[in-house]
Symmetry: C2
Subunit: 197 residues, 2 copies
DNA sequence: CAATTTATTTTGACCAGTCAGTATAAAAGA
DNA sequence: TCTTTTATACTGACTGGTCAAAATAAATTG
């Protein structure tokens, strides 16, 4: 029972994500979501309070999932450089996936100013991202291959570099530049970490 | 006549900007814009083809203005470090101004996927930003205080760092962190430029 | 097991409200 | 007067959310 309800919920969230990548947050209607999910309009209102509720749960879901995958990727690696490379590889996963996520994420960010729960969800996402940065830096300090003045400032800068790169890449709308931006991002982060050797 | 028309146009664009900072791109109505400009709805339709036309011209106007101010700031300086500091000071101009611009800018970015003229305007803005980066780097190379492998990649990374910093700062919604993010951004850029001494 | 009742899920028509864009009227200026 | 500019009224399209009724599944009972 609860299992089927959960399945429906996920089905609707996926439909909302797909609709948002194609039409953008604001212009997606409840009808669009229902169409993408292949259900009638009433179903969405049956499982969610309203449109904002759908997107709150969607953002929570995708930001959590992304963090979990990133965290899993770096924990498989032992060395600082291994962790950093795994992180960058996971973040720049593919043009297709990056495009889908960042399109919706940009919409989400532009809504943060109007919606406190969105702000909270994003804050939590940032904290998760920073914790990944922290793990990489600490490993690098132990190995004595990084040199940073302030760990907290550096984890923040790393996330700035990643988001800035993917947003700029997305705006240029050229899949061939994906590798170029990954590389630029990776090398800049190494500079920020004063990577030795 | 033409002068008064130009004045009205600017008045409406300013009103659209103010409306967009407060309500967000999508939810701003033509009525809102007219209200903020203290004119009737007919005026907006008289001077602009439609809502999209208003925002296209607004986007073009503000990105051009920002570039011109940034370019003016760095050209006053002779040294590479002077130019870089002037650039960062201009970019991180004040919590208030950064908030207003980046709120609207984020809305614009999230619309780029649906609107080719927005994409073009943003592309032009990026190119202007890169040209500023180029000027700073070249000065630094002449002074032999910077060391970069690839100038083009570095100007891109600098812009990633700036946008990433201001977006992350904006999302955290704490004016007291403005200085902190400016500093983090500045120091990271120095690292990326391998600043010597 | 089968019939019947109850609970859950789904449907789509509907409503009240909003908006962009248009048409028209009024005013101002040349 | 005639053209330009501004104000107001209107229209048609669309939206989020409601709701009563239908369909389906689960539980109960004889």
């Amino acid at each position: 029972m609860a299992k089927k309800a959960e399945q429906r919920r996920k089905q609707i969230l996926k439909a909302a994500f797909q609709a948002a990548t194609e039409k953008g947050y604001e212009s997606v209607t409840l009808q669009d979501i229902a169409d993408y999910a292949d259900v009638s309009k009433g179903v969405t209102n049956y499982y969610f309070k309203n449109k904002s509720d759908v997107f709150t749960q969607l953002f929570e879901w995708i930001t959590t999932r992304i963090y979990e995958k990133e965290a899993a990727s770096i924990s498989e690696q032992e060395t600082a450089i291994g962790k950093l490379e795994a992180y960058i590889d996971r973040v720049f996963i593919s043009p297709e996936e990056n495009k889908n996520f960042y399109r919706v994420y940009l919409d989400f960010l532009s809504q943060v100013k109007n919606n406190d729960s969105y702000k909270e969800i994003n804050q939590k996402f940032y904290e998760n991202c920073w914790s990944i940065g922290r793990e990489i830096i600490q490993q690098g300090l132990e190995e004595e291959i990084f040199e940073v003045d302030d760990v907290e400032q550096t984890v923040i800068s790393i996330r700035c570099m990643i988001d800035g790169s993917l947003i700029q890449w997305l705006m240029r709308d050229d899949d061939r530049l994906h590798d170029y931006y990954r590389n630029a991002c990776y090398e800049s982060i190494l500079q920020i970490l004063r990577y030795k050797k």
